[in-house]
C-alpha cells in the first residue's frame, strides 16, 4: 500500500523535470540527444511488452521500427502525403505486418521464435536495402519533412520537437501502464511465467501472444515514424538487429518487465554513449560485456533491484510488527492468567 502514496508525487516530479529540461539544458544538442533517447525509449517500451511481460525474445523489433520510419519517409517525400496521415499509417502498417509476422513466428516457441524473428528482421533489412525503386536503397531517404504544425503549435525547432516527443512518450507510457495492469496484462505475465499453466487457466496462448506482438510492433512503428520526422534522414541500417540489441540493453539496464525500466535504460545508456563519444564505433566493447555481467549478476535491472529491496524491506518490517504483536499478546495472556 505504501508504494501507491509516493508513486504519484514521484511521477509528477519526473514529468516536471522532463518539462523543465530544455530550459536548463546548456545547448540545443543536449535537447536533441534527450529527444532521441525518448524516441528509442518508446520503441523499447514496446519491445518490453513482448520481451519483458510476455517472455518472448523478438529480435525483429528494429525492423518494425524501420517499417514505421520508411512509411513516413516514402509517403511524405515521394507521394506528398501530410506528415500526420503518414504517421498514423506508419503505426498501422507496422502493426499489420507485425500481425502476419506474429501469426507465423509465434507458432514457434522459445529460442525457435527468437531465431525466426532474427531472420524476419534481416529480411526486412534486405528488402529495404535492395528495393531501390520504393525505398531509395542504400542511399536512404533524405529531407523528410518535420512534423506539420497542429493549430497554432509548430514543430520546426528542437525545443518544440522535444515537447512533441515527450508528449508521445508520456502517452505511450500511460497506455502501456493501462495495458499491463489490465486483465490482458496479467495474461501476458501468465504466459511468461509458464505457457502450460497459462493455457490451463483458460488463456488462449496464440491469440494473446499475437496481440502482445502486434501491440509491440505498433509501438515500434510509431517510434520509427517519430524518428523519421525528427532526424529527417533514414537509411536501411536502422533495421539491423544491432538496433534491437541496443533496445534489449536499455530494457536490461533499466529493469526487464517493469514499466519505466526501458525509459530509464534508454536515458542512461544514451548519455553514457554520449559521454563516451570517443568510443562511438567501439561502444560495444563496453556494452557487450556489460550485457553479460548484467544477466549474470543483475538480471532484474535497476528498477527491478530497487523494487526487490522495497519488497524485502516491507516483508522485514511486517515480520517485526508481527513479532512485536505476538510478544505483546503473549505478555497480556501471562498477565490475565496471573
Amino acid at each position: 500500500m505504501t508504494t501507491k502514496t509516493w508513486q504519484k508525487p514521484l511521477l509528477a516530479i519526473l514529468l516536471a523535470l522532463a518539462i523543465v529540461f530544455p530550459m536548463v539544458a546548456a545547448n540545443d544538442y543536449y535537447i536533441y540527444v534527450m529527444s532521441l533517447a525518448y524516441i528509442m525509449a518508446i520503441a523499447a517500451v514496446g519491445l518490453n511488452l513482448i520481451l519483458g511481460y510476455t517472455g518472448q525474445l523478438n529480435l525483429a523489433h528494429a525492423g518494425f521500427m524501420a517499417i514505421g520510419a520508411y512509411t513516413v519517409g516514402i509517403l511524405t517525400v515521394d507521394y506528398g502525403v501530410p506528415y500526420w496521415a503518414a504517421f498514423v499509417l506508419a503505426g498501422l502498417l507496422s502493426a499489420i505486418i507485425g500481425f502476419f509476422a506474429g501469426l507465423l513466428s509465434l507458432r514457434l516457441k522459445g529460442h525457435f521464435f527468437s531465431i525466426f524473428t532474427l531472420c524476419v528482421g534481416f529480411m526486412i533489412y534486405l528488402i529495404i536495402e535492395k528495393w531501390d525503386g520504393l525505398t531509395h536503397g542504400t542511399v536512404g531517404i533524405i529531407d523528410i519533412p518535420a512534423p506539420a504544425g497542429i493549430g497554432p503549435i509548430r514543430f520546426d525547432n528542437t525545443w518544440s520537437q522535444y515537447y512533441l516527443v515527450l508528449f508521445f512518450l508520456v502517452l505511450s507510457l500511460w497506455l502501456m501502464s493501462r495495458i499491463v495492469h489490465s486483465l490482458l496484462g496479467r495474461a501476458f505475465v501468465a504466459i511468461r511465467n509458464g505457457e502450460d499453466l497459462a493455457e490451463t487457466l483458460g488463456i488462449n496462448l496464440m491469440r494473446t501472444k499475437v496481440l502482445a506482438f502486434v501491440l509491440s510492433t505498433f509501438y515500434a512503428g510509431l517510434a520509427g515514424a517519430l524518428y523519421a520526422g525528427f532526424v529527417r534522414f533514414i537509411g536501411p541500417a536502422m533495421a539491423l538487429e544491432s538496433h534491437t540489441f541496443d533496445m534489449i540493453a536499455f530494457i536490461l539496464v533499466g529493469g526487464i518487465g517493469t514499466l519505466f525500466g526501458p525509459l530509464l535504460g534508454a536515458i542512461l545508456l544514451t548519455w553514457l554513449t554520449q559521454s563516451l563519444q570517443f568510443l562511438q564505433d567501439y561502444r560495444m566493447i563496453v556494452f557487450g560485456p556489460l550485457l553479460i555481467l548484467l544477466v549474470m549478476y543483475f538480471p532484474q535491472g535497476l528498477i527491478g533491484y530497487w523494487r526487490q529491496r522495497q519488497v524485502r524491506r516491507a516483508a522485514a518490517s511486517e515480520k517485526d510488527r508481527r513479532l512485536q504483536r505476538s510478544a505483546l499478546s503473549s505478555r497480556q495472556e501471562v498477565q490475565t492468567n496471573a
Binding site: 529460442h111 531465431i115 557487450g288 550485457l291
Partner: protein, 288 residues
C-alpha cells in the same frame, strides 16, 4: 550444361561452408540447448586470424587454417567457461542475451584492431581446373573436398570413438550421461572447441573467394540458423543436408531468379517451409 554445372559447383561450395558452420552450431545446441548467437562472431574471428597469419606473418595457407582453428577453439571454450557455464541455471532468455553480448564484444574488438574496412585473403590456389569442357576454380574444389573430408572425420569421431560418443550421449540425455559417469565439463569443453574450430576452418576455406569484414558473420550465422531449424536442432545429418539445400537454393535462385535478392532466398525458404510445417523438415526430439 556448362552453366548448369557451374551452378551445381556454386551450390556445393556454399552448401559445404554453411554445413560446417551449422554443424558447430548444432553440436553446441546439443550441450547448451540455446542458440549460440555468438557463433557467427567466432566464424568472423576465424577469418581474421587466417588473414593475419597469412598476411602479416606470411604463414602457409594450411598452417594459417590450423592456427585460426586453434585460436577460435580456445575462444569458444573461454566463452563457455566464463559465460555460458555460469548461466547454466539461469532462464534461457539470459543465455541468449549473454550470447548477444559476446557477439557485440567480439565484433567491436575485431573492428578496433583491424578497422571496419574490407580485407582480402590472397587465394592460395588461383588456378583453374579443366575437366573435359568443364572449368572450375581450384579454390572451390578445395572447399568442397576439405569440407566433406572434415565432415567425414567428424562423423567417424562421433560414432566410432568413446570420446565422440560421450558428446552424442550428452546431447541425447544430460542426466543419463551423468549417470553413466560422463564428465559434463570435459564434454562441453570439447564440444565448444570442435564447434569453434569448425567455424574457423569454414571461414578460412571461404575467405579467398570472399571478403573479410567485422560483420561478415551475420549472414552466414543466420543462414546456419535457418539450416538447423530446417534440419532439426541438434541433428548432425540435418545440418549437412540442410546446408546443401540452402547452398543449392541460393546458387540456382541467384541464377534463375535474381542475383540481387539471393540472400533473401534462404529466409524466404524458411518462412515458406515453417508456414506449412512448423515442426521443420526433420523434426527431432530436441525440439521444444
Amino acid at each position: 550444361m556448362n552453366i548448369f554445372f557451374q551452378q551445381v559447383l556454386n551450390g556445393l561450395t556454399l552448401g559445404s561452408v554453411y554445413a560446417l558452420v551449422a554443424l558447430g552450431l548444432t553440436l553446441v545446441y546439443g550441450i547448451l540447448h540455446i542458440p549460440n548467437f555468438a557463433h557467427g562472431a567466432l566464424y568472423m574471428v576465424g577469418a581474421y586470424m587466417a588473414f593475419y597469419l597469412v598476411g602479416s606473418l606470411g604463414a602457409n595457407y594450411w598452417v594459417a587454417m590450423a592456427g585460426a582453428a586453434a585460436v577460435v577453439a580456445v575462444l569458444a571454450v573461454l566463452s563457455d567457461r566464463l559465460v555460458f557455464h555460469r548461466l547454466r541455471n539461469a532462464p534461457p532468455l539470459h543465455d541468449m542475451i549473454a550470447a548477444i553480448g559476446l557477439l557485440l564484444f567480439l565484433e567491436a574488438g575485431i573492428q578496433a584492431i583491424w578497422g571496419a574496412e574490407f580485407h582480402r585473403l590472397a587465394p592460395p590456389y588461383p588456378q583453374i581446373v579443366r575437366i573435359f569442357d568443364l572449368v572450375a576454380p581450384a579454390q572451390r574444389l578445395i572447399i568442397i573436398a576439405a569440407a566433406f573430408g572434415l565432415m567425414l572425420v567428424l562423423h567417424l569421431f562421433l560414432t566410432r570413438t568413446l570420446t565422440g560418443s560421450t558428446i552424442i550421449a550428452m546431447a541425447q540425455n544430460r542426466d543419463g550421461a551423468a549417470l553413466v559417469g560422463i564428465d559434463a565439463t570435459k564434454v562441453s569443453v570439447l564440444t565448444f572447441a570442435i564447434s569453434g574450430a569448425l567455424a574457423a576452418v569454414a571461414a578460412t576455406l571461404f575467405a579467398p573467394i570472399n571478403l573479410i569484414y567485422p560483420s561478415m558473420g551475420h549472414l552466414v550465422i543466420m543462414k546456419a540458423f535457418v539450416i538447423i531449424i530446417l534440419g532439426g536442432m541438434g541433428s548432425i545429418p540435418g545440418a549437412i543436408v540442410g546446408g546443401l539445400v540452402i547452398g543449392f537454393a541460393e546458387s540456382f535462385g541467384a541464377f534463375y531468379v535474381s542475383t540481387n535478392y539471393k540472400d533473401i532466398i534462404a529466409f524466404a525458404l524458411l518462412v515458406l517451409i515453417l508456414s506449412f510445417r512448423p515442426q521443420g523438415l526433420f523434426p527431432s526430439g530436441a525440439r521444444a
